[in-house]
Symmetry: C2
Subunit: 116 residues, 2 copies
């Protein structure tokens, strides 16, 4: 058995809940906002590479609003954020969420924005 290679070259993740502390009702509260649901869905479907800074999403909102939403996702345990120089890049905690709430991310991936 080989030792899992520790990615020492990666920046430390910003504060986030441990896997076992992720609560389903909190995750659902984070996803109850259509903007945040769309962020997670886009990460799931289109992030071919790795993490993405919040400018990548092309959201037409002030930066201070985006900070609020990305923080909400991270503190709920849905995403992880790392600081890469200037940028704070996000990705979905896929393994953690699939372990705790299997099937949840499939629902998010299948989501479509309201037609209104």
């Amino acid at each position: 058995m080989t030792v899992q290679p520790t990615p020492d070259d990666l920046p430390e993740p910003l504060p986030e809940p441990a896997v076992d502390d992720i609560r389903l009702e909190t995750v659902m509260g984070a996803l109850s906002d259509p903007l945040r649901m769309g962020i997670v869905r886009k990460l799931l479907l289109e992030s071919e590479q790795f993490d993405h800074p919040c400018g990548w999403f092309g959201l037409d909102r002030p930066k201070s609003s985006l900070t609020h939403h990305f923080k909400a996702l991270r503190e709920a345990g849905v995403t992880r954020q790392r600081q890469y120089g200037l940028e704070r890049r996000s990705h979905v905690r896929v393994d953690d969420l699939n372990t705790r709430f299997p099937g949840l991310l499939d629902l998010v991936a299948a989501w479509t924005p309201a037609s209104s």
Copy 2:
């Protein structure tokens, strides 16, 4: 092919969204409250018979608060409510939710309240 027997003896359901109008983010918003999550979970796990009035849940809240929460669940499309004489009984729209969001109710059934 036999005609589906229409349950004419059942009271009409209270106003609720049609199946196709149930939105995932709205459902998640309704389930982001621990009290409501517990209501749905209890309905899923313990409702051997059919519907249940809101006294059956043994919730230690004023009646006017319970009205609010049961209405939130119904208007989100999570539950259906019918008037049986005095009582307004609820059940989960299992088929509708499994059709639109397969796996979601499994997550609710597996939910456990916060340890606090």
